[in-house]
């Protein structure tokens, strides 16, 4: 673990190793081992357990037709929670669509997130976005886009502005392995390097981009962490199922950025445990048991294993926690549905569809809104 202010050249090797803290016996080893205390570890475990319960529930709700779409982060939880713990509240986050854990950490609230997925009267997007495209301005969590990688140069711009304003807040963004092929990946790295923007650019390499293996994005010729080398940007290749490593590497990059050291690219090596989305059927393109064979294991098992080893936790406590979270999610879901579902009211008022296209509604939208409301009154077929 080099000092956070070393020259780029001294970081190059880190893009080809796999930075780990927890070994196969859940022992923390090596220079990257962070000092997280019991409470912090238990806090992160609680969160990870909650996210799984949330994903599990929402996935099933979609299957039952209660929501139109859903995306899990099963198996990748540590790549959000670890970094999230290492950032300050003032740091701005530009997520990909599998960072639900970060929204929970930043205070978005389970109920609000469910209400969004239901597009109901409490939806913070007022029905304008598909499920899982969260946002939370107060928590410095950006609005998620359906277009891959667009948030990457935006994060760099945000960081450039922080530097221009003389603040020491930094930006962090997440994308997937497949998204690295998009133009905005290059835009982000170029501008981050040229302006030495205080930004952390994360690539969650979960091995798959829908049906295509990361090799189709060039991940087998060269690690994604090394993509930054051509621009002089340090790259860290990290065990993404090791919460402590995810935390420690983000802390390193954050300190570097905050002190004027510029951008860092971090590749989290992990595995997409579930389907790409509720529209996907992975059995068509990958072996069913691939995850169980994945060498880096399951981030939850590794974290509980670590806590058990420390004597802070037991299998029973974990089962209790899981039951508790399951219940919490179920109760919250019930409450969320009371604010409306796709089929049962209360419903959002469709006239809201015309708001916020512009700050003030121009005449043509005013007229279209009136026309729409009038049509709503009419019966059809008459």
């Amino acid at each position: 673990r080099p000092a956070t202010n070393v020259d780029f050249q001294e970081t190059e090797q880190l893009a080809f190793e796999l930075i780990r803290v927890l070994d196969d016996d859940f022992e923390p080893r090596g220079p990257w081992a962070p000092d997280l205390d019991k409470d912090q570890l238990l806090e992160s475990l609680k969160l990870m357990t909650l996210v799984r319960a949330y994903d599990d529930r929402m996935y099933r709700m979609q299957r039952q037709g209660k929501i139109s779409f859903y995306m899990q982060c099963l198996g990748e939880e540590a790549t959000s929670i670890g970094p999230g713990m290492a950032l300050r509240d003032g740091d701005m986050i530009f997520p990909h669509y599998r960072q639900q854990a970060l929204y929970l950490m930043r205070g978005t609230g389970l109920l609000n997130m469910m209400c969004h997925c239901l597009s109901n009267t409490r939806d913070f997007c007022r029905g304008r976005q598909m499920p899982v495209f969260y946002q939370h301005a107060e928590g410095n969590m950006f609005t998620i886009s359906g277009n891959l990688c667009t948030q990457y140069p935006q994060a760099v711009g945000w960081a450039m502005a922080a530097a221009i304003k003389g603040s020491d807040d930094i930006a962090a963004s997440w994308i997937g392995d497949g998204s690295t092929a998009e133009a905005d990946f290059h835009h982000a790295l170029t501008f981050a390097a040229v302006y030495q923007a205080p930004v952390i650019l994360n690539v969650v390499n979960n091995q798959w981009a829908i049906s295509t293996f990361q090799a189709v994005a060039g991940g087998e010729r060269r690690t994604f962490a090394a993509r930054g080398h051509g621009y002089g940007i340090p790259g860290l290749r990290v065990d993404g199922n090791d919460l402590l490593a995810c935390y420690a590497t983000t802390a390193w990059a954050a300190e570097r950025a905050r002190n004027g050291g510029g951008p860092t690219l971090i590749e989290f090596v992990t595995y997409r445990g579930g389907a790409h989305s509720t529209s996907d059927d992975p059995s068509r393109y990958r072996p069913r048991d691939e995850w169980s064979a994945f060498p880096l294991g399951d981030p939850l098992k590794r974290l509980t294993g670590h806590l058990e080893r420390l004597g802070h936790w037991s299998k029973d406590q974990q089962s209790e926690l899981e039951a508790e979270m399951k219940q919490h999610v179920a109760d919250t879901w019930k409450e969320a549905c009371s604010h409306g579902t796709m089929t049962e009211g209360p419903f959002l008022d469709p006239h809201e569809m015309f708001e916020d296209v512009f700050e003030e509604m121009p005449r043509h939208l005013d007229e279209q809104q009136a026309e729409m409301m009038e049509l709503e009154e009419q019966e059809w077929p008459k």
Binding site: M130, F133, F354
Partner: protein
């Protein structure tokens, strides 16, 4: 002859062309081993090999850019953009290059590339899986722009597009991939088997580019539309008991203005309808061209029914979508005017 839905018809068009012409290649995200997120390329890689049915990185600009280079080297790429909403990262290669290479090089270089992309809403896709950007492409000189409304046309038009030596942007209205849709989401979904154009020859045939299709004759009003709305318009006219002539434009560029003109001169009334947002949408060109060609025959202003000028909202899909109710209101405005 076989019963095919639009997915099967589109798949068959590529299959036939891969078989007939060794220069045809298919490329795009998830189109190879997996067969496409909408299954349009299902089985093609298995049948024609990895070198001819290629999984591409997630880079629309790279897909179009490399497809152009392949075309310059004698291939006929058929590139899939997974959703029309995601075509924009490839926009520069399409507009600045693909559309103008023939022109700028005095036809010493040509780029017979077909870009296939699912478009339109009605599938709960929200603002980034529902767009209809066809008007933008129709405005770009040098591109042909196509949108079929049924399996028979889809296969015949796609084969024509692949064989065309001009670049073609081929929009596939995803809402009717699996069956026609009359605009009522509460009805059980229909299958193409009941539809006459669900009967599709297994082999090679073409539907020529540049020809509109009168899908329903009538003399009271002309409804000019394309894609999913063709079916909604027919249902709306029928429900109103209006004897409407419904025209499926099919090829947006070049536009078959003669067929439109003849119809509007006959009916004297015209409604233009599409799913895309109205302001500066393709319908504006239809209105502008028709009012000029038919001004002295028009008995009422030409009306437009289109997507509202907002992004496509997830929760309000059926208030946003041009449903029968909205088509009917438009028809009434035209019929009652003057």
């Amino acid at each position: 002859m076989a019963e095919m839905n639009m997915i099967q018809a589109i798949n068959s068009a590529m299959d036939v062309m891969l078989e007939r012409d060794s220069s045809v290649v298919v490329m795009g995200q998830d189109v190879g081993y997996f067969g496409g997120v909408f299954r349009c390329t299902d089985g093609l890689q298995k049948r024609h090999g990895e070198h001819r049915v290629i999984d591409s990185p997630i880079s629309e600009g790279g897909i179009v850019g490399t497809a152009i280079g392949m075309a310059v080297n004698g291939l006929r790429p058929v590139a899939e953009i997974q959703f029309a909403d995601y075509i924009y990262p490839g926009f520069d290669q399409i507009v600045s290059e693909l559309a103008r290479i023939r022109y700028r090089s005095d036809a010493t270089f040509t780029t017979p590339v077909t870009i296939r992309t699912p478009s339109g809403g009605g599938i709960r896709g929200g603002q980034t899986h529902s767009q209809s950007p066809e008007g933008i492409f129709a405005h770009v000189s040098g591109l042909k722009t196509v949108m079929p409304s049924n399996p028979y046309d889809a296969k015949g038009l796609l084969i024509s597009a692949i064989e065309s030596n001009d670049p073609v942007v081929f929009f596939e209205p995803k809402r009717i991939y699996n069956g026609p849709f009359d605009g009522d989401p509460n009805k059980p979904s229909q299958s193409w088997s009941a539809h006459p154009r669900g009967e599709v020859p297994d082999d090679y045939y073409t539907v020529p580019l540049g020809q509109a299709d009168i899908v329903q004759e009538g003399d009271e009003i002309t409804i000019v539309t394309y894609g999913t709305i063709v079916h909604v318009a027919q249902a709306a006219a029928q429900a109103l008991g209006v004897n409407a002539e419904v025209i499926d434009v099919r090829t947006l560029m070049p536009l078959d203005i003669m067929t439109l003109q003849a119809s509007v001169e006959k009916t004297g009334r015209c409604l233009v309808a599409h799913e895309a947002t109205r302001f500066c949408g393709y319908g504006a060109e239809l209105v502008a061209s028709i009012q000029r060609a038919c001004f002295w025959h028009l008995e009422a202003p030409i009306e437009r029914v289109a997507g509202w000028d907002t992004p496509y909202p997830h929760a309000f899909e059926w208030q946003y979508f041009p449903t029968q109710k909205r088509l009917a209101a438009g028809i009434r405005r035209v019929m009652e005017a003057g």
